[in-house]
């Protein structure tokens, strides 16, 4: 398995050496962090813009219409136009809102999703940081987003926002359990929480195939729970337009609203990339053990393409859910989690543990 043309570890080492040779250790670290921060920020913004456009096009095609097609070729620059509009909008000051919390809330949401991106590997060696408790870190950090949601609802001084935020808070906290447990199933199979190890371990087959039944169940549960975590799809009653105007971000306008909006799409990207990494092999091409010729052909496709292809496939699935299904009510949503998904998850972990012990996986 030859990754030399696509291997970023050598590039990382070269960059490291350059910095440490020429600057004092303190400044080297500062420069390194700044560079990484800027690159991730840029990436974040670009992907966010692209995802908004993709959603509008996908939803339009499903609804028998065309979607944006005026600004730029095939409407490609529509999101940029929207962004400029949002930046120019007046920031409406709410009279009795808690100013500090009101202003902080969007930033907390953005920071939480920003931190989660850092740990995910895009290609071999191409990740900001490689924790040995990678998955745990990502789950922990993406849970911080709920603080931002609750603060937004509370500080808006508005009945609708409060109801929306409470609903959303209950929903996110409940579904984190399912997300964590379904990822735990794969950790049992992989034997490690470190992202790079998990991806390396899928070199001879993705976990969803290696772990057959329990891994597949875990994948389905993960998809459902992560859609609920990110307030998307049939679980979006926190921002249910037809009931409570816009839920917890009713009172936000301009750039702050843009942050919430962006954070929602980036959360979707993050959970999709976690699903792609943990279940579908991350940047690892599709290998079938035994078919060496096939594997060689697969290796020529760059890992970046594999990674983004899988992630966008999962994102497409999530968009498909949203535009097909009606919305669940809050009590049905919580019933789904506590009475159905949680028991399924627990049983699934036992099955997976059993499978691993008996060596019944590929």
């Amino acid at each position: 398995m030859n990754f030399s043309i696509y291997d970023f570890t050598s590039f990382n080492q070269w960059l490291d050496k350059l910095l440490y040779d020429n600057l004092s250790p303190f400044w080297a670290v500062v420069v390194e962090m700044t560079v990484i921060g800027l690159v991730v920020l840029l990436f974040y913004a670009l992907i966010g813009l692209f995802l908004v456009y993709a959603e509008r096009k996908v939803c339009a095609f499903m609804q028998n219409r065309v979607g944006p097609n005026r600004v730029g070729p095939y409407g490609f620059f529509q999101t940029i136009a929207d962004l400029i509009k949002l930046l120019l909008k007046e920031l409406v000051h709410i009279k009795n809102a808690d100013k500090l919390l009101f202003n902080i809330a969007p930033f907390i949401v953005i920071c939480a999703s920003f931190m989660a991106i850092a740990a995910i590997p895009f290609a071999k060696g191409l990740h900001a940081i490689d924790f040995d408790i990678g998955i745990l870190y990502v789950i922990a950090v993406s849970s911080l987003g709920v603080i931002g949601v609750l603060l937004a609802g509370w500080s808006s001084n508005n009945k609708y926002s409060l109801i929306g935020a409470m609903r959303s808070g209950a929903q996110i906290v409940s579904y984190e359990l399912s997300v964590g447990l379904s990822l735990l199933t794969i950790i049992v199979l992989a034997g490690t929480m470190q992202f790079s190890q998990i991806v390396e371990g899928q070199a001879n087959g993705w976990f969803i195939f290696k772990g057959h039944i329990p891994a597949f169940i875990a994948f389905v549960v993960f998809l459902i729970s992560s859609t609920a975590e990110t307030n998307r799809g049939p679980f979006d009653l926190a921002e249910a337009e037809s009931e409570l105007t816009a839920g917890f971000h009713t009172e936000y306008s301009g750039i702050k609203f843009a942050f919430f909006f962006l954070a929602e799409y980036m959360n979707m990207f993050i959970v999709a990339s976690i699903a792609a990494t943990v279940f579908l092999g991350g940047w690892m091409p599709f290998h079938v053990s035994g078919w060496e010729g096939f594997n060689h052909v697969m290796d020529f496709i760059p890992p970046l393409i594999w990674y983004f292809g899988k992630t966008f496939f999962v994102i497409f699935l999530m968009m498909w859910f949203k535009w097909t299904f009606p919305r669940l009510r809050i009590d049905q949503l919580l019933t789904l989690e506590w009475k159905y998904l949680l028991p399924i998850n627990l049983v699934n972990i036992l099955i997976m543990a059993f499978v691993v012990l008996m060596g019944w996986h590929f």
Partner: protein
């Protein structure tokens, strides 16, 4: 406007709070203000505040001649505009003892049924949208466009037609009318299967509508809830069956009755009604007799002194038109018994104990059109 919230001051507990849904709200389908008294997520009581689109139609009718009144009736329940026109035309014709040609009766019945299908299509798409399945909105409207195109070809307008006039029709139907309608029936029979796949069979939608907003048959009769909402509770109130008009006595169709009385029953009644309407149209469309499209009426219509009442089955229930005439060319008193007014009066009763999300589903299933409530 002075803001007065006159809720009965019986038991306002500490934890109750009031929420306004409307008058501008994405899901009340018009300008209606619902003051909902909530305890947590549970609806304790509900007070509708109507009158935002009260135009005084009944007062205007006292100054208008009967052909002019037809145009006002379009604008009450604008989604079943033809059926409203039909009621007033029949009332005037019966009062003047004028017999319209068979051709007119056939055409009026066919167009009424097309209007009913169009109205149910709009109901379906907005019901789906309220539930959160936004794709339903586009599918329903896309198919409704076909009916509106047929209307536009024949009489020039898409929503408010005033095509019926006392004595017959304003002009004859377009030569393509029969073919267009037959093509539409074939097209829609295929599409309505998509509706069932997308929304009816969806487990989320069923969970949200089964057992929600139950209206018993006694309550339906007492509140005067007619139309598909009443038939979903087992109240057999179809005016086309009980007091037939047009050529409804010559066609075979079923009156759809369900007995659970919940939102899902009301939903299914409307879905089946679309099938029944297509059945009626199919039986009539090839047999339209030749003849005049109108009887020659006097220029000025004066109804003999007395009282007249006409009942028709609008898309949402029983529309009643009452006229007290003193022999002049304008009615002395004209009253419209609007189906949506009575349907709305049941909303408070059936939404108590449910959640806000249920309120949206129940409102969608009662399918009220506000201009008909306010007149």
């Amino acid at each position: 406007m002075k803001e007065v919230v006159n809720l009965p001051v019986k038991n306002i507990e500490e934890e109750e709070y009031h929420i306004n849904m409307g008058p501008q709200h994405p899901s009340t389908h018009g300008v209606l203000r619902l003051v909902v008294s909530l305890q947590g997520e549970i609806v304790k009581s509900l007070k509708p505040h109507c009158g935002y689109i009260h135009r005084g139609i009944e007062k205007m009718c006292e100054k208008d001649t009967y052909p002019q009144i037809i145009h006002l009736t379009d604008r009450m329940d604008y989604l079943s505009a033809h059926i409203n026109n039909h009621a007033v035309c029949m009332l005037v014709e019966k009062a003047l003892e004028v017999e319209v040609p068979e051709r007119v009766k056939y055409i009026r019945t066919i167009i009424d049924e097309l209007n009913r299908i169009a109205s149910h299509q709009l109901w379906w798409c907005s019901f789906g949208m309220d539930m959160g399945g936004l794709t339903c909105f586009f599918y329903g409207l896309r198919d409704r466009e076909k009916i509106l195109d047929i209307f536009e070809e024949s009489f020039g307008s898409r929503l408010l037609h005033s095509y019926y006039t006392p004595g017959g029709l304003m002009m004859d139907i377009h030569p393509n009318f029969q073919k267009s309608v037959k093509d539409f029936i074939v097209y829609f029979r295929k599409k309505i299967k998509d509706y069932d796949d997308l929304l009816t069979g969806n487990i989320i939608m069923q969970e949200r509508t089964k057992g929600v907003g139950i209206l018993s048959k006694e309550d339906a009769v007492s509140y005067g809830v007619t139309g598909p909402s009443g038939r979903g509770s087992g109240f057999s109130c179809d005016v086309r069956k009980n007091h037939p008009y047009g050529v409804y006595d010559k066609v075979e169709f079923n009156e759809i009755l369900m007995h659970e009385g919940d939102t899902f029953a009301r939903y299914m009644v409307r879905m089946h009604e679309m099938h029944e309407s297509m059945k009626i149209i199919e039986q009539l469309i090839d047999n339209i007799p030749a003849g005049d499209y109108s009887v020659k009426m006097k220029a000025v219509l004066k109804l003999p002194a007395g009282e007249y009442f006409q009942r028709v089955e609008a898309a949402r229930g029983e529309l009643g038109v009452y006229v007290l005439s003193d022999g002049n060319k304008t009615p002395f008193r004209m009253k419209f018994r609007s189906p949506n007014f009575s349907n709305l009066s049941a909303l408070d009763h059936i939404s108590r104990g449910g959640k806000i999300a249920d309120l949206v589903a129940i409102g969608g299933s009662l399918d009220y059109v506000i201009p008909d409530i306010d007149r």
